[in-house]
């Protein structure tokens, strides 16, 4: 299969139009829809898997939000989902509460915003935007999806076992996650979590290496690095971060598996649990935290950078203006990528780590605010004097800029170890990272889906439903996460099953209710998107060649799913991707394939 495929590719290079007709006859259902090596199909597989995972994780969040707003109330809804064991009489079980919080976090961070976001858009856009027939290795690409699928299945499978899924929080700090006596979720559920994550990491590495190689090696003629769309830069930097940091998570996970199963003591020492002292001596949970956050912090940018790349492209296209400060945007992404490796300790100020080491991390962490500020201001300047076309994708992109700022500024507070003391692990943190990472990344993902849907399914999504989806989501998202800051200021810790155990939180009931009501509306609003998505996939209006009047190469390929993307020879690139509304040009966009006119400068010069 692999050979046939690469033969196709070779045949395509510099060859005839009708070559692709010939291919399509050969494809069986299995090779076209299931074990496909075509980047477009793989991207669709990633996206649809991620949507399913996201709906599951979102439903979990509604269940635990209902418990938080109305603790002890009986809901048939909860009983229907969790049964008599975990939701007896419709009241959520405390262990299941922790499990839901854990799996919600795991799915959202890894399966939706890492696998789903990078997997979908890196696969779809890299060959399209750099002008390649397909990814460097279609086979590795296929494996990447199927490892992702396997890990999703294992993770979901862990929901149905007797002791329940992993429930030590998505950061799975040992000893809680290492000792089966500590909680039911640290038994088989934790083992499955670790196996699932290992498979996920394999998927992520196979994908990441492929993305890097393709971007470096398979750019078409004229596609210099400094002419690449910012989506490509973002995905390249993301892939490098992933390749460098995910292996550390593997080692972290493997040591934990050893501690759990082989009696080693990497993370365990001086523990008395289940009525007996354990033999483990000399390990330290702090080691785990270092290893975990060495991945964990770059992970934040693995989630965020692709969304920022997508938004850069969409904001520029729909403002009908070049992105402001193209090179500064690249520079700031590189700076963010580099710095993300030396800030992990800001998750650990209060773990007993040496306070001096904490000071170093305060310094490096606050440095990240500089490139982030540059990016935010550049987006705003791109809007200035634009001619903004409000596609649903553009609305979500502006939403992203807003949430990136709103969540980003509280990062300045949390990065400051002195101020972190009193809000660490409270709802202030929950608000911060949900807004800056969760909302920004998911808005970027929605923007990407609305924008590139025609390239995925050759049809258009309905704009009115898109508008409705955006406004409901945007308003409710802030309605959910903004009030959480005030819970943090009242000192409410995260991951509390209920806030009614201590009188000091009794006056916060109304905040919790408001948050939950907004969460329920937001969750229902997502069904508008899901309907629009699947309906448009089959019944949407057929897409024209270049619906958004965009410059990038993907809009020069025919609106048909063909192997090799371009029926004839590969396009040649003559300019950067951002010649929108260039003075003297006939249209307000000049595709990258149009040669430079006499005396015309490339890259934003007049």
């Amino acid at each position: 299969m692999a050979n046939a495929h690469s033969a196709d590719l070779k045949e395509h290079v510099g060859h005839h139009d009708h070559a692709h007709d010939h291919d399509e006859h050969e494809e069986s259902f299995v090779s076209k829809y299931i074990f496909s090596m075509d980047h477009k199909m793989i991207s669709r597989q990633f996206l649809i898997t991620a949507i399913i995972m996201a709906v599951i994780a979102m439903t979990m969040s509604i269940i635990f939000r209902m418990q938080l707003a109305w603790p002890g109330e009986k809901f048939a809804f909860i009983n229907a989902f969790l049964g008599d064991k975990w939701g007896k009489d419709g009241v959520l079980d405390p262990n299941m509460y922790l499990a839901l919080v854990t799996i919600h976090g795991t799915i959202m961070v890894f399966f939706v915003l890492t696998g789903g976001l990078s997997g979908t858009f890196a696969n779809l856009l890299i060959p399209f935007q750099v002008g390649a027939r397909d990814m460097a290795s279609g086979f590795l690409n296929m494996l990447s999806y199927w490892f992702f699928f396997l890990s999703s299945v294992i993770m979901l499978g862990s929901l149905f076992i007797e002791d329940g899924p992993a429930s030590g929080g998505w950061t799975i700090y040992p000893p809680l996650s290492a000792l089966p006596e500590a909680m039911p979720g640290s038994r088989l559920g934790m083992t499955l979590w670790l196996i699932s994550m290992t498979s996920f990491i394999v998927s992520s590495l196979l994908g990441g290496i492929n993305y890097i190689v393709t971007i470096i090696n398979l750019r078409t003629k004229g596609m210099k690095m400094t002419r690449m769309p910012l989506t490509m830069w973002a995905i390249l930097i993301t892939a490098i971060l992933g390749v460098l940091s995910f292996p550390v998570l593997v080692s972290c996970v493997v040591l934990l598996i050893c501690d759990r199963s082989l009696g080693t003591s990497f993370y365990l020492s001086d523990i008395y649990i289940g009525g007996r002292p354990l033999d483990n001596v000399g390990g330290s949970p702090v080691l785990f935290e270092h290893l975990f956050w060495f991945l964990g912090h770059p992970e934040v940018y693995i989630v965020l950078l692709p969304a920022l790349g997508i938004t850069s492209e969409i904001i520029s296209t729909n403002s009908r203006k070049p992105i402001f400060g193209y090179r500064a945007m690249i520079g700031s992404m590189l700076a963010i990528g580099f710095l993300s490796f030396i800030v992990w300790g800001h998750h650990m100020y209060l773990t007993g780590m040496n306070p001096f080491l904490g000071s170093v991390f305060v310094f490096t962490t606050l440095l990240i605010a500089i490139p982030s500020a540059v990016k935010a201001f550049n987006y705003i300047t791109t809007l200035w004097k634009g001619n903004i076309q409000y596609t649903p994708a553009m609305l979500f992109s502006i939403g992203l800029v807003s949430s990136f700022i709103t969540g980003g500024v509280t990062g300045i507070i949390l990065a400051d170890s002195t101020l972190d003391i009193n809000v660490h692990d409270t709802y202030f943190v929950v608000a911060h990272f949900h807004i800056v990472m969760g909302l920004s990344a998911i808005f970027g993902m929605f923007a990407g889906v609305y924008h590139w849907f025609p390239k995925m399914f050759l049809r258009m999504m309905n704009k009115k439903l898109g508008y409705l989806h955006f406004w409901l989501t945007f308003i409710c998202a802030y309605g959910v996460f903004f009030p959480m800051h005030f819970l943090g200021l009242a000192g409410v810790p995260r991951r509390y099953y209920t806030n009614s155990a201590f009188p000091m939180f009794d006056n916060l009931v109304d905040i919790n209710e408001i948050v939950t009501v907004f969460a329920i509306i937001a969750a229902l609003a997502q069904f508008i998107f899901i309907f629009n998505f699947f309906y448009s996939m089959f019944r949407g209006e057929k897409s024209p060649q270049n619906p958004w009047n965009s410059n990038t190469l993907e809009w020069t390929t025919p609106m048909a799913n063909i192997h090799g993307n371009w029926p004839g020879s590969l396009p040649v690139v003559h300019r950067w991707a951002y010649d929108y509304s260039k003075p003297g040009a006939e249209h307000d966009f000049i595709p990258q394939t149009v040669p430079l006119a006499d005396g015309e400068h490339d890259g934003g010069g007049h």
């Binding site: 002292p277 403002s319 606050l366 004097k385 009188p503």
Partner: protein, 343 residues
């Protein structure tokens, strides 16, 4: 009942299907209308952006006004007062940046909403502007870092006070134990292998310095105006000793002894007379009355702030701050562990 729901669902699906057919038929007359953006779409969304931006920023102040009364009272420790000051300055800055940048964002989103025939301004970069928003944040951040680290170093420095009170906070699933050093001012050493029903915190029975230690549960007392140094330990998993009123927090990690020190500056009695605390407690008791629960008085609280299992949400201890004399009287009434150790 189930039949009714089923019939309802079927009808709903039929209705949706018919609706789709109407939409699809009407599509033939208005090509491109389902996705291409018209001037009226731009106008609607542009205006909606402005309205949203306005309401969003107003709502920040509305929420602040409404819910700041629920926030923790002013710090009850000396370093905590400094943290509060630093917090306020940082917060002013952060709110300013939030308001200004969001205002620009939503205003531009409204002002430059698209119109047919208008051409955008080709403005690709400007070194002066980019320099401006690189240098200004850098300078501001330099100040934030300098002040933050100055306080951080003070707060986390080693305790030098010879008259300090040393207390061990011992965490386990799912409660806290406090241990005082006793007359010899030395906490007895521990050995987790010696934990049993009578030796809850794992005192080393061979170490005589532990015999006069005092162990308390449910609540512990500390003297006002004196440095209190906490030593944290954990028996099983990671916990975190969070004392929000004092702006104090430190993880309790098995296999390690961590520490945090502070000087409490307000007794529990003084806090109960504080006007802010009185209105805070009024709000709390009002909410409790609605639930049919007894009113409570203000108390300092120790909480667990690191996920530790099913009863994580319920793992607390009350802290009483009182005058040094009252504290000494209370301590004198507590029994030393001698009896356990002699066993």
């Amino acid at each position: 009942m189930k039949l009714l729901i089923l019939i309802g669902l079927v009808l709903l699906i039929i209705a949706a299907h018919q609706l789709m057919r109407v939409v699809e038929l009407s599509r033939q007359f208005k090509k491109g209308n389902e996705w291409s953006v018209s001037d009226s779409d731009n106008s609607f969304n542009g205006k909606a952006m402005l309205v949203f931006g306005f309401i969003f920023i107003i709502s920040l102040f509305w929420q602040g006004n409404r819910w700041n009364d629920n926030a923790l009272p002013g710090a009850a420790s000396e370093h905590g007062l400094k943290i509060d000051t630093l917090w306020d300055y940082n917060m002013y800055l952060v709110v300013l940046v939030f308001v200004v940048t969001n205002a620009f964002l939503f205003y531009f989103a409204y002002k430059y909403k698209g119109k047919q025939g208008v051409k955008a301004t080709f403005f690709a970069h400007d070194n002066r502007l980019e320099m401006l928003w690189t240098v200004v944040p850098a300078v501001v951040l330099a100040f934030i870092i300098i002040f933050g680290l100055k306080y951080w170093n003070d707060i986390t420095s080693r305790s030098e006070d010879p008259n300090k009170v040393t207390i061990e906070l011992y965490a386990k699933q799912f409660d806290w134990t406090a241990r005082y050093a006793g007359k010899d001012k030395t906490l007895g050493s521990t050995d987790y292998r010696q934990i049993d029903g009578g030796n809850d915190v794992g005192l080393d029975t061979l170490d005589a310095t532990g015999y006069d230690d005092i162990i308390v549960k449910n609540e512990f007392h500390i003297p006002v105006g004196k440095e209190v140094e906490f030593k944290m330990r954990s028996r099983d998993v990671i916990h975190s000793a969070y004392m929000p009123h004092f702006r104090a927090q430190m993880n309790c990690v098995p296999g390690m002894i961590t520490s945090f020190k502070f000087i409490p500056n307000k007794t529990t009695a003084e806090m109960r007379k504080d006007p802010y605390v009185i209105q805070l407690m009024a709000g709390i008791n009002e909410a409790r009355a609605k639930k049919g629960e007894e009113p409570v008085e203000f108390d300092y609280q120790l909480l667990c702030n690191k996920i530790c299992g099913a009863s994580h949400y319920n793992m607390g201890m009350i802290i009483i701050v009182e005058s040094e004399k009252d504290y000494n009287d209370w301590l004198a009434k507590q029994k030393a562990v001698k009896t356990i150790a002699a066993k």
